[in-house]
Symmetry: C2
Subunit: 218 residues, 2 copies
């Protein structure tokens, strides 16, 4: 069976490739795995049928024969374990790449998402203008540490890996991109990822889907 | 070489086993792996020497021959891959357990930590009393989904696994425990974890260390 990735039927990102299916689609294309999509409306995400796939009613999920997986980090790791080229062969480097995968989704991304929540969920609250600099300071501390760790390496573990997919997808979120002028090495790292043929194809795929959906609604 | 786990020299949790080394120490004891500790002061965490181990200057790290790992999720996964009993043998169940590991650290824990940041970092700000119910509502939505997914199973993937270690360590944080009266199935799940001999030993170990450190300072 061709694997199926669940995605937003109409992504709120306006075709900018910021939804969490992007990392999964990028990894699948890097690994040369054909896949189908399951577009879901916001209402469909919260149905018992989808919550059986994804307990929190989110995208993406990854369905193969007899297996439905959730959590973009876990899905990308699963793809990387099953196909060559997304994790180092050396066991110590492989374990460190997996550490960077966890760092992307649990150390970097939550601080990035904190700013998105402040703007998107609490944007109309009187305290938000004062909170944004506090959140930015927390995020800058993480980005400075990440830039130090990356140093002048092209990728987190020398060769491109699944860790870079998750990290670059986290850094591409607007709350982090806003700060990139202060972190030119990270901006260049994101640009290196975005220049990869697999990224470009995954990006074009999601953008074409978004545009087609918009045209259908027009 | 006996693995070394870095821990706070003086944990701010007052010996309640809430620091992120707890999951690693619990997993090591479940797996029957002896380990040593590397206690670090807050100043030592931010040194170049420690940032070479842990890019963000945090605990825990896990040092073995020729390998230093960071991120509690990645360390627990590494231990679970190297030893029997912490991941299901069936490949599909194993992949789902890993999905739950990512869910613990990237879907549940960030919302729990958001409340901690509000209280500990922004507690003196005028907006905090109004923000706490908003954060609690976001967290309750996640906890309700988690309770539905757990259902009447004892553990996330039937048998106890590394996923339960990470999830229970996240749920034990005070911001989540505050809400447990509304989620009795999750409270019982946490209590099942806390009753395991390996948890009890890891908990007693860190508490004894904390008490010895306090006595030394007195």
């Amino acid at each position: 069976m061709t694997p199926i990735v669940s995605v937003f039927a109409a992504s709120p990102d306006g075709g900018r490739g910021l939804a969490r299916d992007m990392a999964v689609r990028w990894a699948l294309i890097e690994a040369g795995v054909a896949h189908d999509l399951r577009p879901l409306s916001f209402a469909e995400l919260k149905t018992p049928e989808h919550k059986a796939r994804q307990p929190f009613g989110q995208i993406p999920t990854y369905e193969t024969d007899g297996q439905t997986l959730f959590e973009s980090g876990a899905i990308v790791l699963h793809i990387a374990e099953a196909h060559d080229g997304l994790l180092p062969a050396d066991p110590a480097a492989r374990a460190r790449a997996i550490a960077w995968m966890f760092a992307a989704v649990s150390t970097l991304e939550p601080v990035i998402v904190e700013r998105e929540v402040a703007v998107l969920v609490e944007g109309d609250r009187p305290w938000t203008p004062e909170r944004l600099p506090l959140i930015a300071a927390r995020l800058k501390a993480r980005l400075a540490d990440l830039a130090d760790a990356l140093g002048d390496k092209p990728w987190l573990e020398d060769d491109f890996s699944a860790a870079d997919i998750l990290m670059i997808c986290a850094l591409r979120r607007p709350a982090a991109m806003l700060l990139m002028p202060e972190f030119p090495a990270l901006a260049a790292y994101v640009a290196r990822g975005e220049a990869r043929p697999a990224f470009l194809r995954a990006f074009a795929d999601q953008k074409a889907r978004w545009q087609a959906d918009q045209a259908r609604r027009a």
